[in-house]
């Protein structure tokens, strides 16, 4: 993910070219509502720093397809997470606590109020933003240049996980069906608005958190590709694995996981080595793709693969190595995926050898319910078909009916001795 408007427009193309050279195979660009609607609701997509056409041109030059994130709060590190100041100052848009005061969210030394999903005024403003942005996107990007438009807030509020249920804005002053006043209803509203403008040629995806209500997102996962924000690296391998696995199980059309690189100014600092290890673990747990947030430093983000001027930092080497590891394992029976690259679009396999799993302490406790409802690591014992195919070894499976891979007890990838049931198993072999 590159917050392009935070760097000088003349650096956009070199920055995206540098990312492409590192192995990234697409770019996520967040469009920040507060930047495009600085003073009023009137939207600006033409100024040099905000020009969608220039963004499209830079991505085209780097041969990177684009995902655009519309939020309305797509990132965690910007003031009010990207909401315009005129929204956070408007009493009619804000959530209320039990004492009728503001529901506040500290961001470093600054404090911002939460918007209220119960406020029709807020919902109308958000709809206008999504509609206006979608219209501008249609004019700037061809359908084949755009992987998807992503709507929804992908990050968890700092202090109140369940801020929607704690919002005491008086419901009697608002209209609308009760089910619309939930996060799920809100997300569907956003997606419907975007789809109504973009039409069927463009794909719309949802961004949310893995902690959100699973029943709601299981339903959404039937219709949309879902983007999740991965838990922080210090949560541990088990928590990461469990969270990502639950997310992938829910998202029938694909789960994409955001992996942090660097940190917000007021957040816990993250070393590159730990960010890369997190990405490895997330891929192993079955994420369809990863998005590295934020690839570019600036505007309140520390670290990043690129500095504030869009120049590559030396730490990129670790990410390049990860992409190399991933490319060394290609699916034997899925020739359509020639170069998964950094993004692993549509791949859905786990490039982890047994040694890596042992390192994450996952091999020792395969039966733990915390990992997932279906076990992730099994011996081939009890799987005669697999045993015939690969001999004794370790089987790593992402989902019982989706994708599998096999490595031997030394951690080397093995080719199957005979074809497996097509459509059910996907055995990976060393390139």
């Amino acid at each position: 993910m590159v917050h392009l408007s935070s760097i000088a427009p003349e650096r956009w193309e070199p920055a995206l070219l540098a990312l492409a050279a590192l192995g990234f195979d697409s770019v996520d660009i967040p469009l920040i509502w507060a930047e495009h609607a600085l003073q009023t609701a009137e939207l600006d997509f033409d100024s040099p720093r905000l020009s969608l056409k220039a963004m499209a041109s830079a991505a085209r030059a780097a041969k990177l397809p684009v995902r655009l994130r519309l939020g309305p709060r797509p990132v965690q590190h910007l003031e009010a997470r990207g909401l315009p100041s005129w929204i956070v100052k408007d009493e009619g848009c804000l959530a209320r606590n039990v004492r009728r005061g503001a529901m506040i969210e500290p961001q470093g030394l600054a404090i911002y109020p939460h918007p209220s999903l119960f406020s029709q005024q807020y919902r109308a403003c958000v709809s206008a933003w999504i509609r206006g942005a979608s219209l501008a996107i249609r004019q700037a990007f061809r359908p084949d240049e755009l992987l998807a438009v992503v709507v929804g807030d992908g990050t968890t509020p700092f202090m109140r996980g369940d801020w929607i249920s704690q919002d005491h804005r008086a419901p009697e002053s608002e209209r609308g069906a009760p089910e619309a006043k939930t996060l799920g209803g809100y997300l569907v509203d956003l997606a419907t608005t975007a789809r109504s403008v973009l039409g069927s040629e463009y794909s719309v995806e949802l961004s949310t958190t893995s902690e959100s209500d699973s029943s709601v997102f299981a339903a959404l996962g039937e219709t949309f590709s879902l983007h999740y924000c991965s838990p922080f690296s210090s949560a541990g391998a088990r928590a990461l694995w469990s969270s990502v696995h639950a997310s992938t199980a829910r998202a029938k059309l694909g789960a994409h996981v955001d992996v942090q690189c660097g940190s917000p100014v007021w957040g816990r600092p993250l070393r590159n080595r730990d960010a890369v290890e997190t990405a490895r673990c997330v891929l192993a747990a079955g994420a369809q793709s990863i998005t590295v947030t934020m690839a570019c430093a600036g505007a309140g983000w520390i670290g990043g693969l690129l500095d504030e001027h869009g120049v590559v930092r030396s730490a990129c080497k670790r990410w390049h190595d990860l992409f190399g590891d991933v490319e060394n394992v290609l699916p034997a029976n899925r020739p359509e995926i020639a170069h998964p690259g950094a993004r692993l679009e549509g791949l859905g396999f786990a490039p982890l050898a047994r040694g890596w799993l042992a390192r994450y302490d996952l091999l020792a406790h395969p039966e733990e319910a915390a990992l997932a409802s279906d076990s992730l690591v099994r011996s081939t014992e009890g799987y005669p078909l697999l045993q015939r195919a690969v001999g004794s070894g370790v089987l790593v499976q992402n989902d019982t009916d989706r994708v599998m891979q096999v490595s031997d007890s030394e951690g080397h990838w093995r080719a199957p001795r005979e074809p497996l049931e097509p459509g059910k198993f996907c055995i990976l072999q060393a390139k």
């Binding site: 503001a102 990461l240 070393r271 673990c281």
Partner: protein
Amino acid sequence: MIEVSAFDSRSWHRLITLIAPGMASRAPHESQRRAESRGGLLLLAFEGDEILHAIHSHRGAVTLGAWNGPLGLEKLASDEQSAFVIAISHGALGNLLDRWGARIDPTASRAEAWLLLLEAIREDIEAKKLHVWPALLGESLPRPTEAVLSAVANLVLPRDRSAFVALTHPDGSLDTFAALVRSRDDSLQLLGPECLYSAIPGASLRGQLSASKIGSWLRQAHAPPHWGLMASYELVHGLLRAGEDGAWARSIAAGEVVVEPMPPFVRAAVGTSAVRGAFSTARVMTGGIFERFSPWIESAIQRAGALSTLESLLGFDPTAFIGTILRRSSDSPATDDLDD
């Protein structure tokens, strides 16, 4: 807001974990080792004589027995091997946030908003809904006002001035760096080492950087330096944790820590610390003779430093406070590569 730039992940991590080791970044597979280590924060919610929930910063959720009141916190800390304990009455945290949110005036300053939070926390402590162990600050400490915070800011870094910290590897090359620039309009800019590399030729090389070179660059490019500190990372790491009076003064006198320029508030603090250190040494060497005079001498030391030190403004010594926390805190990971 503070505008932060020119830090890579590694230099930022080194800087933050120097004073907040608990914030250290860890890889996913290191969580087990972390869980087994001593220290950390135990946060618990109680109701009646029951502990409803408890979370340990190293181990996640933990199950604890009965709530024995604030006097039982030390034993809980010992049993759970935690360095700090915060106990909150069930529902008090939500209540605290609600009270805070209800009191905030959106047009008021940020400082006022945070002082309101401090006030709300103090109310909960007085109402015995919130207990902190150990008590790092005296309960009688007055709530600072905006005027006090402003005076502290002006003492540490006046408008249109800059300050910097440059920390080096044992071989003398730059480990991490931060310069804080306060503009005339009161905005703050925090600059990292990447701006040094482009501004001072050879800045990344061993022995090529000095406090005076950094000061000259800051004066030309941003604002005149009000103070600057240059020393080895390891030495500063040790000094911050040293509970010993006069340790900073000795290192400055020995030239191991370069403070250039040295503003009056640093000179006063270092002088007070040096006198305290000398007094402690003399007390040990002379047996009980000094004990008779110690209250008078302590009072004289405090008066000498009272005019211009942070301690006199805030009512407590912030370096001693940070030192107390750091001595109790676990340390950050030792591994450090340039690619981190």
